[in-house]
Subunit: 308 residues, 2 copies
Amino acid sequence: MESQFVDWLLARLPRDPRLEVPPGDDAAVLRPPAGRRTVVTVDLLTEGVDFLLGGDTTPARVGHKALAVNLSDLAAMGARPEAAVVAVALPREGAAALGKGIHAGLAPLAARFGMTIAGGDTNTWDGPLVISVTAIGSVPPGAAWRRDGARPGDLLVVTGPCGGSLLGRHLDVEPRCHEALAIAARFVVRAAIDISDGLSLDLARMMRASGTRGLVDLARVPIHPDAERRSRLADGVSPLEHALGDGEDFELLLALAEADARALVADPPAGIAPVIFGEVVAGTGLVARHADGSTHPLQPRGWLHDGA
Amino acid sequence: MESQFVDWLLARLPRDPRLEVPPGDDAAVLRPPAGRRTVVTVDLLTEGVDFLLGGDTTPARVGHKALAVNLSDLAAMGARPEAAVVAVALPREGAAALGKGIHAGLAPLAARFGMTIAGGDTNTWDGPLVISVTAIGSVPPGAAWRRDGARPGDLLVVTGPCGGSLLGRHLDVEPRCHEALAIAARFVVRAAIDISDGLSLDLARMMRASGTRGLVDLARVPIHPDAERRSRLADGVSPLEHALGDGEDFELLLALAEADARALVADPPAGIAPVIFGEVVAGTGLVARHADGSTHPLQPRGWLHDGA
């Protein structure tokens, strides 16, 4: 229903020559008057859906996450972070302490990525915590990584292992901004998306946008130790399924020409160990390929809480 | 407490050379790589605080308001609207219909002001409606209207009558963007702010930022018919008090040199009837001047729900 609503909405947003990448990608790219393009993205997090305050889930970790997921969107565009604005609705009780805690997690992350917090809007109300961050980045004209540029023959790369982020990692998102810029400096990235809702679901989005089919080598999907842990907790879901469907990994999923993909995994930027886990072929949807070469359709799975 | 938190927060935001106007003004101004400056502002509205859905308060009117208050912030910077991103948390029940209703109010306003909706984030949750709009505008270098530039001798101008917006007008905000640009083309505006929280409260903010005192001629404060209506409802508050303290008028409050102020009110842009209602003098705080010339300190009053 929501996805339908988003489609409905996207269909009604007028095209505008100032937008180099229109609504529906990881972020919109604005043609500024001159020089670099402006990249803008917004993510709104709500208590009860994106986090549950209490215990290990401190306001600082929530503040970190609220900015980090936006930085991840900028990374997925190959954009350099520039500025952010932060809007919050704080529960009246303890509002100031909560606000300070959020800032304590958000500000160091902003500083670490050379991002200035340019403003915000602080509200209190009788509801739970809501935090909305708008991030602005920049990118050279024509250089933004879109999700619709994958072509048959490209290889699929993911910048790290997936699955099990719910065990805590989803709060400590380490956005791949520096790595994205290092990759952009050396390679042509044909298509990119960050894994917010699930490796298979986000891959399906990239394939749909590109008009191509994703062929996933199941034996090569990098599985995070947290996915193994979740599986050992006897939840009836295999580590591979966790890796394909859990989401909130905030790794980058990239499509590159074969030579570029192989050069990237052979000599990656510091801090990541990217893996080739499949390829782009003609067709639609996703296909899983087993070690013996047999294939079957792969149903994309993941977290469908948000749109656009 | 909140105001303290905002002060605490502002004190901790690092200065950045990319910001021509730092946090704490109506909007932040970013120095883009070249050409015009980028102006960014965000406002988050929550059900129960900023509106109560039901009856005449349709989702479309809420969508209109959510964008309009941001456009008003751009107007208060003398900025030209360029783009907006919209993040919402929708109550699960009826989410799509509500989202569509919001869009129905928001999109025409965006179109009317030449603003492209560049993206967004749609979420559902078990809480009430939350809508956060980030607006981006542009302005020539050095031309943004700040709130800290008023000087003794300047006259205080308001672009329209105030008070009583709670009777319904607060939902149908008509942002003063075109009028602001028309004024910017003809005059040097020394300081500007939009009246979101109350004429006297927002004037006090301008005076505090400018290091000056505001002298308000009580007989010249333009009183909206809605303020008269609210007063007739026997609420014990005079129409003048409503005009000074109600807020959500979204008129512009400007400080201009005397000659400019007089030329503006003598020959205003189409659609507004600006009024000189006071002057800027040396000192701090606000002073009320009666028709007989006597003065007394004026306590700023208004809506203190949000910060920054």
